[in-house]
Amino acid sequence: MQINRLKKISDKVRYETIKLIHKTKTAHLGSCLSCIDILVANYFSNIILRSNVNFKSKLKDTFVLSKGHAAPALYVVLQMKGYISKKMLNTYSKPNSYLEEHPNIKINGVLVSSGSLGHGLSYVAGVALGDQINKKNNYHVLVMSDGECNEGSTWEAAMFITGKKINNILAFIDCNKWQATEKTSDIMNLDPMKQKWQAFGWKTYEIDGHNFSSLINVIKKFKKNPKPTAVICRTIKGKGVSFMENDNLWHYRSPDKKEYLKAIKEIGFKK
């Protein structure tokens, strides 16, 4: 039941994200589509992230989209969860709106202004360290990209977290095999990703990042044993739209009218 519900929500998030990007002619659709299932599994499964995520005046559970360029997908999720209004969502990328193409701390439900890669894990480390000092148990989830693992600061944070025995951090790495201009494997030697994180002292899983039962399983296991956990999510850039899947053109390109209609039809929506 839960899985079917999440799938439906996921389709809806995909549809709204494609629509948003089509309307505003903005970039990063492929990067949104690869991580939507991860976002949905976290926000809608009610296992660890419940209500008041990133409630800044009294911070408890947090979520950081470290790959900030997937902001449109996050905004759609935040709207569906009631953090921002539909009216506000429609201001995305428009003048006078905080809904820029990367998340801004001024938005309700957004904890940090991400967009420059390699910062999210350190941010979460600081927040979780604060909990450790205060002897509080809150959960801290983040979504990073595989390209983001190019950044040295990502590995500084990875060492710091396990070195200082900071718990309650769950990192999903959206390994869609592409970064802005090339295949990740053609740029740097990222694999074996799982072993790299293991070597840094993290509990690791390698799963299909579009499979809800795998995603839910990992979140449940983390809840039972909240050691620093890295989930290598094997994903498809552009997931859900046949002509976008695995085509890096859609890192920057936004669909025109014809492409938009074709795309939403594939995921079961009409204009």
Partner: protein
């Protein structure tokens, strides 16, 4: 200066339970008292300054008052994006301490010279920049910085600096302190190097030259109110700093000067120029090489006043 910093922050942390110190594998035994008193509030973050800076930002989101502490070069040049994006942009009360300001680590070579740090950081919005003249001024300013709750870069020396103040002065962020009151000529400066000017002035007094000396300990926000008065009251202005000629205090003062169309003052800028400083040995030798020691400052001012 670093000892004064550690002593003072250890004292302050007794009352202020929110202070957390993060160090970048520096200060051997320096923090022993702090660590014993507050073991949960001290973290050696290793030689990973970028992470340290953002961890501080994360702690600040949780309501802590984090301080990052390492050698000025590393705490600025390796972290400038983290300072901009994670600290200054969300306006979080993180204090970034750069120890070994200017040429404090002269003998260690240019890798350890923090002579562009003010220039690098000054253009970042929200970030205050504070450069105390001596350990007493530092003690006073540290309290003010913590009170201010603003992202702040605190640039301090190393150890063994001479004192200028006899007692701990009153200070306020953004309000410069007069160290010597004279006439006609005003030396505006910041940091350790003010000591050289302080003693140069004593010698100049014997020659009937009476410069004023101002510690512009806050580079940002700049004390423009006082600058206005100075430009009206003095014909000769000297700007002294242990920093590149580009982007530092001289840059800040010049920007204010041109923005307001002042024109009646003569300027002399004393700084390290626009170069890497090589083959210097100890800091005093570096000063000599750069025409910045006590005697050289005295001579340069004597020549300047004849203009």
């Amino acid at each position: 200066m670093r000892n004064a910093f550690v002593e003072e922050i250890t004292k302050i942390s007794k009352k202020n339970k929110k202070i957390v110190i993060l160090v970048g594998d520096i200060g051997y035994k320096l923090y022993d008292d702090f660590k014993i008193a507050y073991p949960k509030r001290f973290y050696n973050c290793g030689v990973a300054e970028a992470n340290m800076t953002t961890v501080a930002a994360g702690l600040a989101l949780k309501g802590f008052k984090p301080i990052t502490y390492t050698i000025a070069t590393f705490n600025v040049y390796k972290t400038v994006e983290q300072i901009k994006v994670d600290v200054a942009y969300p306006n979080l009360p993180v204090i970034i301490v750069g120890v070994g300001a200017g040429l404090s680590y002269s003998g260690l070579g240019s890798t350890h010279h923090a002579t562009e740090d003010i220039g690098v950081l000054r253009s970042i919005p929200n970030l205050n920049i504070v450069v105390p003249a001596d350990p007493s001024e530092l003690r006073s300013l540290l309290k003010e910085i913590i009170k201010s709750k603003k992202p702040t870069y605190l640039r301090i020396g190393k150890r063994g600096e001479k004192y200028i103040y006899k007692n701990i002065p009153n200070t306020k962020i953004g309000k410069a302190n007069y160290l010597v009151r004279g006439k006609k000529i005003c030396i505006i400066g910041c940091g350790n190097i003010l000591v050289n000017a302080f003693y140069a002035i004593k010698k100049l007094n014997k020659k009937n030259i009476f410069p004023s000396l101002v510690s512009m300990h806050t580079i940002k926000p700049l004390d423009t109110k006082l600058l206005k008065k100075i430009f009206k009251s003095y014909t000769h202005i000297v700007v002294l700093e242990e920093h590149s000629e580009i982007g530092g205090l001289a840059g800040a003062v010049s920007e204010f000067y041109t923005d307001n169309n002042y024109k009646n003052n003569n300027f002399l800028k004393m700084n390290i120029g626009n170069k890497f400083v090589l083959k210097t040995g100890h800091q005093n030798h570096a000063f000599q090489k750069l025409n910045l020691n006590e005697k050289q400052i005295m001579n340069r001012i004597e020549r300047f006043i004849k203009k």
